[in-house]
Every structure is written in C-alpha cells, then in structure tokens.
C-alpha cells in the first residue's frame, strides 16, 4: 500500500465520519428535514415599526418548520433590510433572487420600494412577490395593465375599503358637506382621491381637500382653508402626530366636532392629547378586525410568543402574507418556480375550500388537503383572505368611536357588506 493509497483511505474515513456526524446532527434537529428551501424578505428592519413586521414573518416560518416544513423541506427566511431606500431594497431583492435563488419574496413595506422591486426584479425574474403593507393604488393599475404577470399579491386591504366606509359614516350621520385633511404621502393622497369620489357618489359636497405635511410647527394655514368652506364635518386621513396638532387648531378656531377619521388615528395618545370631551361626535373607521376565531387565535399566539398584543401596523398582514406564500409553496410542490407558486395562491385562499387555521396545526392540515388534490380556505389573522384578479384584498370593516377605556365599536360590516357597499358606489 503506497503513501497515496493511505492518503486516499484517510480522506475517505474523514469524509465518512463527516457524513455520519452530519446525519447525527440533523437527526437531532426538531424537524428532521434533509433539505432547505429559502424564501427572501426585504423589510425595513432598521425602522422601529419595521422590525416587528419582520419578526412576525419569522414567527410564521418557525411555525411552519415546526409543522414539518414546506414540500418536505425546512424553510429558511433570508431577511434583508430595505432601509426604506429604493436602491438598497432593489439591490437586496436582486441579491436574494440571484444569489440565494429564492422563488418567493416577501416585501417591501413602502410602495416606493415595492414598486421598483416589482418592475425590475420580481417580474423579470419570475418570482412571486407578496407584500404585507404596500397600499398604493398604483399596483392595482399596474396589474390591470397586465404588467405584474400575476406575480404580485398584497394582504393589506387597499385604501378603497377605508375610504368607502368613511363615506358611509358621513352619509349615515346626514352630513351634507365635508372638508378633508390628508397626510401628504402616497397613502394619504390615495385616500383623499378615493374618498372625494365616494363622497361625490353619495351626493356629499367636498368643500376642500388640504394636504398636511409632516413635522410643521403649526397647521393654521391648512386648517383655515379647510374651515373656509364651512363644512358640516371634517374627514381626517392623518397620523397621530400631525393629527393632534391639526385637530387642536381646528377646534380652537371653532371648527365642528363632527369628525370622521381613518384607522391611523385610532390611538390612545391622540385621544388624550386632543381630549376625550372634544371627541364625542367623532367616528373612526378601520379594516383589520374580522369576526373569526382565527383572528383571535393569531392574537393569542402572538401574545404567547412576544409577550404583548400585536398593536403595531401591518403585523396581522405580515403574518398572512408569509403564511399564504408558504401554503402556496406547499401546494406547488418541491422546486416550483415563482409563477407556479403564484398560480397556487388561488387554491389556498379558495372561499369554497376546506377551512384551515393560522398556525402550525392548520398548516399540517392544509398539507393533507392539498396532497389529496383539494382546495383550502385559509382563515388568517386578517380574516378569510381572498385576492381579486389584481392581487388585492378586501376586508371587513368597523366603525368605532373613542371611549374612556380606549375605543368602542359602533358598527361592524362583514366582508360581504363592505363589498356590496363598494359596488353600490360604482
């Protein structure tokens, strides 16, 4: 036996040992899967409210792995920070698609980041993109033009629901004219455009629509121009900081206490800073409060995991985005490409399918149904998610008002009620 043979023999022994050790290690892991499927996530983790969205997505991945992974493989979520910068987000998405070979991309949050990712990475690369939180109507238009190739979905109800319900409140209260104050970003501009149309459809006059920029020391000029039309009521599409300042000025200048506000002002801080005594005639609207057990079980599971209620923006949406993407991957089978996975989304959100819950057990149940060729109705944290042809979701809605404790519900509109009402406006 020559030296060379000895060496080869040694090498073989070492490699055998390595394999044996590897087997032993993987056998020790909780879910004994011998392969890993990667999914990508581009989320703004460097922003305070972005981090919980990413944590929620990772939480779903953990649950699915606990249930045995997707198509027989463990799921690994590669998370990249978008820094809310389109260049950085697009680069991260491109790296995930090209270097990690992901077929599913979760993200982004800002529409201004999701959009270039969609046009320059996921659509050309044939990758499924599932956004939890991008609200811009530009995605709907892009989908209508056929430019998303059916690869884009989002679990954030379009601003249309919020706007329609706000208009309904005005009608129910018998307001004849309304002034609008809106946040000057893509969400606020969308909301303003939509609700102005809805008011018009209901025969309510919009006396003025005024943009509110962030971080101004005073909003007197804006408020004065809203007051000048002498409206019956004020509609607020604002966030708490500038909302507090604007409403204080509005009230101190003698504006009406009849106000309608979007869910962004559903905050105890806003209530306390303005004063509950001035908010008695104020109604708010919100979308994400479905009356299904799955939404409650999400809240319970989230509290058990993170030790607090899921109160930040987009958490329930992030949960559903991730779970639906993974269910679709399961339905599409091993090594499926982005378009094959996208085609399966309808199968896992089928209103006529077998209901499954939003947790590890639900995922395991869904796997059996899908393996048997059946369809699944995913009952998620935001309710029974159902995408339309453009990848948009509708949602149930509530009308609420401020109370001593926090907020109390005035009216609940189921998904059907909402859809019917929106249809009646058209």
């Amino acid at each position: 036996m020559g030296v060379r043979n000895m060496k080869r023999c040694n090498r073989m022994m070492v490699s055998t040992l390595g394999v044996a050790m590897g087997l032993a290690l993987s056998a020790g892991a909780a879910a004994a899967q011998d392969c890993t499927t990667k999914i990508g996530a581009v989320l703004p983790t460097s922003v305070d409210w972005g981090r919980p969205i990413a944590e929620t997505a990772q939480f779903v991945v953990d649950q699915v792995n606990e249930a045995g992974g997707v198509a027989g493989c463990n799921v690994e979520m590669v998370l990249r920070d978008s820094q809310v910068d389109p260049k950085i987000g697009v680069d991260a998405a491109k790296a995930l698609v090209d270097l990690d070979g992901v077929q599913v991309l979760l993200g982004a949050v800002s529409s201004g980041v999701s959009m270039p990712i969609l046009t320059s990475v996921t659509v050309p690369g044939n990758v499924l993109q599932m956004s939890c939180c991008s609200s811009s109507t530009a995605f709907t238009k892009l989908a209508e033009e056929g430019k998303t190739k059916g690869l884009f979905f989002r679990t954030f109800a379009t601003t249309g629901v919020q706007a329609a319900v706000g208009a309904k409140v005005a009608k129910d209260q018998g307001y004849k004219s309304v002034a609008i104050l809106y946040k000057n970003d893509d969400w606020g501009q969308d909301l303003q455009n939509l609700i102005a149309k809805d008011f018009e459809a209901l025969g309510i006059t919009v006396t003025s629509a005024t943009a509110i920029n962030d971080g101004q020391p005073s909003y007197r000029a804006e408020v004065t121009s809203a007051l000048s039309g002498n409206p019956d009521a004020l509609y607020l599409g604002l966030y708490p900081n500038e909302g507090t300042a604007a409403v204080r000025e509005w009230l101190s200048l003698g504006g009406t206490q009849h106000m309608i506000m979007a869910n962004s002002l559903k905050s105890n801080e806003f209530r306390d800073n303005v004063g509950l005594q001035y908010l008695g005639k104020t109604f708010g609207t919100d979308t994400a409060s479905p009356r299904v057990a799955s939404a409650d079980s999400f809240v319970a599971a989230y509290e058990a995991k993170f030790g607090g209620a899921p109160n930040g923006p987009g958490l329930a949406n992030s949960y559903d985005a991730t779970m639906i993407a993974l269910l679709a991957m399961e339905a599409a089978g091993k090594d499926a490409t982005g378009d094959q996975i996208a085609a399966q989304v309808a199968r896992v959100t089928d209103p006529a399918g077998t209901p499954v819950t939003a947790d590890a057990a639900g995922f395991a149940a869904a796997r059996d149904v899908l393996a048997g060729g059946g369809n699944v109705m995913y009952q998620g944290a935001t309710g029974n998610v159902r995408f339309d042809a453009n990848g948009d979701v509708s949602a149930p809605a509530v009308v609420w008002k401020f109370s001593e404790e926090s907020v109390e519900e005035v009216e609940y509109m189921s998904l059907t009620d909402v859809d019917d009402f929106i249809a009646s406006l058209k």
């Binding site: 990772q58 990249r80 820094q83 389109p86 697009v90 959009m115 000057n184 893509d186 920029n213």
Partner: protein, 317 residues
Amino acid sequence: MIGLVSYLVFFATVASILAIAVLGLNLQWGNTGLFNGGVVAFFGAGAYGTLILGGVPQDGQLGGFGLFYPLALLGGMATAGLLAWGVGILTLRLRHDYLAISTFGIAVAFENLMRNAQWLGGGAQGLRGFERPLRAVLGDGFLYNILFLLCVLVLMVLTYRFLETLVASPFGRQLRAIREDETAARSLGKIPARIRLTAFVTGSVILGLAGGLYGTFYAFVSPQDILPTLTFQIWAMLIVGGAGNNKGAVLGAFLIWGAWTASGWALSRFAPIEAQLYTGSIQYILIGLVIVGMLLWRPQGLLPERLVVSQSGRTKT
C-alpha cells in the same frame, strides 16, 4: 453561477450610474470648490425629465410623450441643466456652507414639488408606466441587463474622458484657480461668476444623465428616490474616493456602493438569527465608521488629487 454573474451585472449597473453622478459632483466640488448640497435635485430632474419625456401617457399627468429614448435622456439632462442654470444664477454668489445650505433647500423643495404635483410626476405614488427602450426586442432578462450595463459603462467612460479633457484644458486651470483664490483669478482678468456657473451647470447635466439612467433602469421614480440620503451617499463616495480625482470618484462609487450592499448581504448571511433584525442598524454603524475613519486618517481620499503644474515657472524640486 449564472445567478452570481446576473447579480454582479445588476450591481455594476447601479454602481456605474452612481459613478457618473459622483463624476458630476467631482467637477463641481473637486475641481471648482462648489459645495452642492442638493445633488438629488439635479439627479431627480434628470430622472423625472427622462421618464416624463420617454414614458407612455398616464391619466391626469403631464408626459407620456413617448419620445425616442436617446432624445428623452438628452431631455432629462437638459431639464437638470436648466434647473442648475436657474439655481446657479440665484445662489452661486454664495460661498461654501451658505451655498450648501441653499442648494440643500432646493433639493428638499424639489422633492416636495414632486410629492405634491400629481399632474407633473404622479405625486407621492411616483411615476410609472415607462417602457424600457428595446425591451420588446430583448425581453427583460439577463441579456437586457448585460446590454444595459454596456451602455452605462460606455456613457461612464465618455463622461470620464470628457471631464479629464476638460480639467486638463485651460478651462480646467481656471476652475482650480477660482477654487484656490478667486480674487487672484479675477485680478488675472478671469470672470469667476461665469466660470462657476458653467461648471455648476455642466456638473448638474452629468448628474441629470445619472438620474435619467437610474430612472430608466428601474422604469420607475418616486419622491422616495430623491431623499437627502442619496446626496449623502454620493458625497460619501466622492470623499472616500478622493475629491478632485476623476479616477477616485469612480473608485469611490464602486467601493462605497459595494460596501453598502456587501455588508447587508454578509450580515444577512453570517450574523446569528437574533442579530438578523438589527443588521440594518449595524450596517449604518459600519458605513458611518468607514467614513469617519476616512476623514480622520485620509481626508484627501484613496486617490488624492494630483496637482499638475502645467507651465512650470520654477525649477522642480
């Protein structure tokens, strides 16, 4: 393997586009000493100009002229140049930090204009619906990206050659003379105001070219693309690369953009799961450290300006 190449092509395209922008800033700051704090305004003017001129019509918006692409790109550059001309006439009498503050203000005003004027640039939603040139023929896969990279590289080299020639010319000497001592330059019969304006507009046209290519590459631009962060990034590239040196400007762009993306990638791959959520913050710290370190230990940049004595009046030491 093909994935790696595909990514590198993508990376090189963005880096080259940014390098063109850094070259434009280098003419203004490195050669002429004009502290342009509003880089994004001219970058954005180029991007919006190109997409408005070359895009397809959108409801209720200006634009959708569907011009032949090179014309649209030239139009974008002209938009940036016109903006710079107007801004220059108003502000170039200011010096140093005052010029920086006023141009910074202009960039913020430009971003707000684009955020609010929905009829002009789609408002906060941004401008979409642009068809990338030749996409119908080439598809939008790997082949397209390669050819696009080649075009960007050619434009970058042309810009580089142009600036090298410009800086070596008598005009380039005037720029440096004004940068070093304006009074002395005036005493020699030069007209600083006109020369400063020429340099400012030329640099801004180059920034507009970079913006136009950027908008073309993403087929989309929104106010989020023209936040002050971009000004900061382009300045960081010039400082690290070496102000006054065109090679340094290109090197700085590739290095900083490379560090920015590679650190994100490396952290997402190698950092422990618990730290994953903090990679964004860690990345900010790393990049900040690089820039601070650079300013402390090598303020002239990696490739410092080479001082050229074109007509030596004394014996060389």
